[in-house]
């Protein structure tokens, strides 16, 4: 998934290395959409290879794909960027399976990709809306740790939420 850069641009390229050794060559302008990378570039300069030991190649690739798309959308057309981004974001999260979604969220959070974190948390939140307690537990693989009776008590107090 390494990005093949076009040689005509004068944009600086950064080399990002994921935890599993996969490397990505990315335009600086794209990579610095990620707060964490931006900080590293500012602190250490951009000549070096940037190692990201907490993100594996699959998810780093996806995060960068998102950054690239947004960067392109924002330069290519001056009108309707928001529309394009919105449409594209929708596509981007639509088919993610839960596991990928969670890992991607972690990667985006680690890389401080604020907008992407927003997008993904919103997606996860949408999986909670309107669901029953049991379904929410299933979604998050959570086991109830209430003592017998405790859950009943809470349900009773909030009975109007369960009608």
């Amino acid at each position: 998934m390494s990005s093949s850069s076009t040689t005509t641009t004068t944009t600086r390229l950064l080399m990002l290395k994921a935890s599993d050794g996969v490397t990505f060559e990315v335009e600086e302008a794209v990579a610095t959409k990620l707060g964490a990378i931006n900080n590293m570039v500012e602190e250490e300069g951009s000549e070096d290879l940037i190692c990201l030991p907490n993100v594996n190649g699959k998810f780093l690739g996806m995060v960068l794909e998102w950054c690239k798309k947004h960067a392109n959308n924002n330069t290519n057309s001056d009108k309707g960027n928001d529309e394009v981004n919105k449409w594209w974001d929708k596509e981007f999260v639509m088919d993610l399976d839960q596991n990928t979604l969670y890992h991607l969220l972690m990667a985006a959070d680690y890389l401080s990709g604020t907008e992407l974190v927003d997008l993904l948390t919103e997606k996860v939140a949408s999986m909670i809306r309107g669901k029953k307690v049991e379904e929410i537990r299933e979604t998050f693989k959570i086991k109830s740790d209430f003592l017998p009776g405790q859950e009943e008590e809470i349900r009773k107090k909030n009975s109007w939420a369960f009608e």
Binding site: V117, K131, F140, I142, K143, S144, N158, A161
Partner: protein, 225 residues
Amino acid sequence: MASKSMGSSLHTGVTFIPFDIIEEILLRVEAYSILRCKCVCKSWHSLIRDQAFARRHLNRQRTSTLFLSDDVLSARRRSKIFDRDVASPNYHLPKETKDSQLAVEGYDNGIKGEQPTSYRVGFGLDPISKVFKVVKLCAMSGYGEDKHSNINIANYDIEKSLSDPADCSLSFGDNGDVLFCNFDYSGVAWYDPKNNSGNKLELLFGDEFFDHVVPNFAESFLRIK
């Protein structure tokens, strides 16, 4: 990610998701589902009943002081208030505060803008509109917030000051939930039968629309059944 009273050590099932991200997710869930989320597990339960969480939840939303909101106040009522604004030197429009919410205290004559001294936030059901809301209840200066359980409230009528306290009721669970009725008026006065005293409160409502949370991404995910 301001106050993290919960810490990140609390577990969730999907263990690699830190708790502060869980919090971010739950902040985007509307009041109706939030109440169900309370039953999921202990750590979610304590997060949701935490005042700091409820405040953040409220602040995420388009909150409006009732005095200025088109949605909540009838035009008739608003115009009365604004008439008074012009007429009465005692009335000041709420100023922007840090969290842009400011309660307005009702007086027998005129209204005076004042900073709430304390407030509680909770998730509740408005049985009239059948809408689940986040409610911020401000106690005005000099009135403690300790008397918040099962108190009777009366509509605070600008014309008549305190009306019949048996009108409606407002109750708080120990957990900070608010179950309330009858909020036609923005200013409410409540009557505490134990102390045989009346006090005035201001209710601020957050509405339930989340499209501002992720701008331009509204239609796809929003709305509950």
